[in-house]
């Protein structure tokens, strides 16, 4: 069990299924540490102002320079420790499979689609694929320069999530100002993701944690017929699946448990199992 669930899950099993994480309380009380970290105005309106893409990139580029130091031999270790600390108190996330994403949408009060900040910065285009929850949409409306958002009903939001899953995007639930407060579900393409790359390239774990599940192949069902099939290999954004001895094999060290490989499988041979019961993956988060 990962540290967030141990601390915040209570009787709900997973931290992001605890309804407390969806209350507006967290915007009211921020510690001094949080305020320094986000240069945090108490007013939430200003919180959205700092996330305006026109002003924000300078601090993003500074953060990226800091993240970059994690590759250095000695300073790197310190940067990793600090990075992990900041990620817990700041804005970071955990991968969730589609089923859990549905549950999160049901728990939240209102949903709105925001343009993906990472794609905006690293590809120069707006794609509406970040699903933000209460109170984000209200504050976006009040934003002085008017964030363009698309408000959705719960059913529409689920429909959108299914659409994103078909495209192969990884769902990740993100917190803001501390771990149990759910703010959005990002639908990431890790190729240009600002959270996933520090994890994958620099091993800053808390920036993008693995999900509560891990994928497993049923060797009896998998045909491993490569020219015809092999969808799971191409759908995995983390390079965790390889075809070995004519069957798909999942590397538990690399698997993030997003479950995207399942939707490509024609034989329905891949399923998600609880990470806590997996012999190797239970220690990897």
């Amino acid at each position: 069990m990962c540290e967030f669930c141990r601390k915040h899950a209570e009787e709900y099993g997973k931290w992001y299924l605890n309804p407390k994480g969806y209350s507006e309380e967290f915007f009211r009380k921020l510690s001094i540490f949080d305020r320094i970290l986000h240069r945090q105005p108490r007013k939430v309106r200003e919180l959205w102002e700092v996330s305006d893409a026109a002003w924000y990139p300078l601090s993003i580029s500074k953060t990226l320079d800091l993240v970059d130091l994690a590759a250095k031999p000695f300073i790197g270790r310190i940067i990793k420790i600090i990075g992990n600390m900041i990620a817990v108190r700041g804005h970071a996330g955990q991968v969730v499979p589609l089923e859990d994403a549905y549950k999160i949408v049901e728990l939240s009060e209102s949903q709105a689609l925001f343009p993906c900040m990472c794609k905006r910065l690293f590809k120069g285009e707006d794609e509406y694929k970040c699903l933000n929850f209460t109170p984000a949409p209200e504050f976006a409306e009040k934003h002085p320069r008017g964030w363009r958002v698309k408000e959705l009903e719960t059913e529409e939001a689920k429909e959108k999530l299914r659409e994103f899953a078909e495209k192969g995007y990884v769902h990740a639930v993100f917190w803001w100002c501390g771990a149990p407060q759910v703010i959005c579900i990002c639908n990431c393409d890790t190729k240009y993701c600002y959270a996933a790359r520090p994890r994958l390239w620099y091993d800053i774990k808390n920036a993008y944690r693995k999900s509560e599940y891990v994928a497993e192949v049923d060797p009896d069902k998998c045909s491993g017929d490569i020219p015809r099939c092999g969808n799971c290999v191409s759908r995995c954004q983390f390079g965790a699946i390889k075809i070995r001895d004519g069957k798909a094999a999942i590397d538990p060290y690399k698997c993030f448990g997003c479950g995207q490989c399942r939707f490509g499988c024609e034989e329905d041979a891949i399923r998600l199992v609880d990470r806590n019961t997996h012999p190797i993956a239970q220690r990897l988060w």
Partner: protein, 91 residues
């Protein structure tokens, strides 16, 4: 693979701030072309009267890992219409 050095000439490349979209909208061909999405834009230190940025520049993120992840395909150099980007590969 040798060391990769990304050199950007801010005088040749012009990326103004678009108040409508709140980001640069002109060109940006290089960041679209990068297969590993290593390039990003950031505002320069100049500020307009309302505190908004005036102009943007292109820079390479994750520089210390660039030797590992930059495929040295030189697509960013190819697509740049102004010739503002140079990539030097040493060794």
């Amino acid at each position: 693979m040798g060391k990769v050095k990304f050199i950007y000439d801010g005088k040749k490349c012009f990326l103004p701030y678009d108040p409508e979209q709140r980001r640069p909208t002109r060109c940006l061909k290089c960041i679209e072309a990068c297969p590993k999405s290593l390039l990003m834009f950031r505002p320069t230190k100049e500020k307009g009267p309302d505190g908004s940025p005036v102009k943007y520049e292109i820079y390479m993120t994750f520089r210390s890992q660039a030797d590992k992840y930059c495929p040295s395909c030189l697509k960013c150099v190819e697509v740049c219409p102004e010739g503002a980007i140079q990539v030097k590969i040493q060794g």
